[in-house]
Symmetry: C2
Subunit: 397 residues, 2 copies
């Protein structure tokens, strides 16, 4: 067995890495350029967006992967915000090579990789990035500086760290930072996430465990159902501590779910974090369809914003999502408050009061028991508010 | 050949039907209960929601259909707003029978049918509806009275009529009313539509032509991607005039598209009607996926609201919708203004100005040429505004 204990100060718990950030002039206030590096090249595994128009830094990463036959080590990750370097074609990839060629003049680089987030369709201002990179304190270990450098419309820094103690008395550490507030959807969306560990995890386990953890975390959250061109989750290890597969799997799942839920809590204009738990479905896939439809429905999301226990929108969304369902067997609850079953259709005053009480909380669960089988799935979403519209109506200004 | 000419006064152009409406006490102001009837039973064809939790009036209609082996005549359609009679189970169907049993005491009924729109999950207030129905002027021919009775969050009455002149000199007429502003999506959503004609259309043609027309109109529009429990399109004929299949097909398509576009123009909080035209796709199905994804994307819709020519969101949505696409071949235009092709990526000042000019219009087209094949599809959508959120955050109050 193993024990997982939370730690303060994010990435600073992981020996063997350096990381920091600074303002390079793209944001008016705050960091907008960051790095993660090590003296020795480290193993890295990554999962990217399913968007067909994957951005230039992703194409750049994939080329290195190809050249190295699926596994490679890097010693430098560069991350910028305010410009996504997406839809910039071959020139966008060339820009990355040029930036690294300049940076290599003052620090040795091995397979350096980049991530970008921000507006689509504009070339990077290379000179500004290169000039700023010269000011990096390459010996920094400042988790706050890098965690804030990757933020765009985020209002909260997203950073978690754990110490994992094995029965043998040995320990390892895992920590992660991420960003993302809009364009967030079950299939990874404008989110960047960097996870560092000192566990001696074999390269072959990295991809497997990362995919599994992402499926159970980032792929279950939705802010607005959109999927960006730049989503990236990277896992890197300094391989200085022990490793246990089950303990690592558990810690990685916990870390990614913590980060994913923080994305929703900090969703653009979001005030509520809602878990949509669907069970009793014919199978897991049908439960997934329903849970994701609920977390993406504008009518459900606005009712949550208005704290209106209008369960008809929940039922209607389930009925519309193309799965097997039966109104006579359906049971809908907000936390423990029953809002619908076939014996209780109209909300009486008492049930309305209880449901409304639940909806006033910042975090609650909407559960739907379809009463048909053993299929289940949970998705996480938020409300749709005036602020979401405001933020997205003039994103570029 | 044939000629189609618009007419004023909606349903009043169709001989052989009576229709009207009144306030039965559910709306504070305006009509909320209406009817369409005839002295002789008339042929009727209907298309309903794909929502699995279809409302009681739809289940009621389907039972009559079943009993009559697929075709039947009715002489009375009753329509109420403010209550959807959905998720009310067997009792909700019983309520309809009871209402008609009372109405039959003062006017003879043959297979009467009902439609409802409004809040989900509450039983109809039968007594109020029955009492009000006694006050119907059953000889009225008042298109405005019935068109307003079916409105919920609609701000505009939706009513069109045409006279169709055949080469032979013979004529027929077709007219329709509909309602719907929210919960509107490609698969028919909280919309009710009633189309009357005097054309002697055979029952077998009614279903075929109605399906085809609905597919090309109501199923191409989206306000918010939700699909309701109550959607209904009905076509009824008094069979008093001539009929020509091609002319009728054309007039019906024109009428349904006019009504469907009016739904979007009057979408909850909508300020813009946008045609999303996708062509050059691998096939029609892929074009349809892209056009519908664009019309449903909150990020695209908020950018339209903000009149922000942020074409990156268009590209990102296409890239994310799961179809074949290539950033080097893609061309995006707002009306005639080019916003993206691989030779013009960043918007320069002049192209930004032209695109912004287009977006200031109340109606415009966003076209995407994928450059891959002959597939094409057009969908219609609107912007996502503060008002949409406001309307839906407290729908029931």
């Amino acid at each position: 067995m193993y024990k997982i204990a939370p730690l303060q100060n994010g990435l600073e718990n992981i020996d063997g890495f350096y990381f920091g950030g600074l303002n390079s002039g793209f944001k008016k206030v705050g960091n907008d350029l960051g790095f993660i590096r090590a003296d020795e090249p480290f193993a890295i595994s990554a999962i990217f967006t399913s968007n067909k128009f994957a951005a230039a830094p992703i194409a750049h990463f994939r080329r290195i992967l190809e050249k190295n036959g699926g596994e490679f080590r890097t010693n430098f990750i560069l991350i910028n915000s305010k410009n996504a370097n997406a839809m910039t074609g071959e020139a966008g990839i060339g820009d990355i090579d040029e930036i690294f060629s300049e940076i290599s003049k003052f620090t040795p680089l091995v397979n350096p990789v980049m991530s970008s987030t921000g507006v689509i369709g504009y070339r990077l201002k290379k000179e500004k990035i290169i000039a700023a990179a010269k000011n990096f304190d390459l010996m920094a270990r400042d988790s706050e500086a890098i965690a804030t450098a990757i933020m765009t419309t985020d209002t909260l820094k997203k950073e978690f760290a754990y110490e994992v103690s094995l029965d043998s008395g040995e320990k390892f550490h895992i920590a992660g930072i991420c960003k993302g507030a809009g364009m967030i959807n079950p299939a990874l969306a404008t989110m960047l996430c960097y996870i560092l560990t000192d566990a001696k995890i074999p390269h072959s386990d990295m991809g497997e465990l990362l995919s599994e953890a992402v499926e159970d975390s980032f792929n279950r959250v939705s802010v607005d159902g959109d999927t960006s061109t730049n989503d990236t989750v990277m896992l890197a290890t300094s391989a200085r501590a022990s490793y246990d597969k089950e303990a690592f799997r558990a810690a990685l799942k916990k870390l990614t779910l913590d980060l994913a839920l923080m994305l929703v809590r900090d969703g653009e204009g979001a005030n509520k974090l809602v878990k949509f738990r669907v069970f009793g479905a014919k199978n897991d896939n049908e439960a997934k369809k329903a849970a994701k439809a609920l977390s993406n429905s504008p009518l459900v999301k606005t009712a949550i914003y208005g704290e209106d226990p209008n369960w008809g929108r929940i039922a209607s969304t389930i009925g519309a999502c193309g799965i097997e369902c039966d109104a006579e067997k359906l049971v809908i609850k907000y936390d423990d408050a029953l809002v619908y079953d076939s014996a209780h259709r109209e909300l009486d005053e008492e049930r309305e009061r209880l449901a409304h009480e639940v909806m006033q909380k910042a975090e609650f669960e909407i559960s739907c028991d379809l009463g048909l089988g053993a299929g289940e799935f949970s998705a996480y979403g938020c409300d749709l508010s005036y602020e979401y519209v405001k933020i997205n109506a003039d994103y570029r200004s």
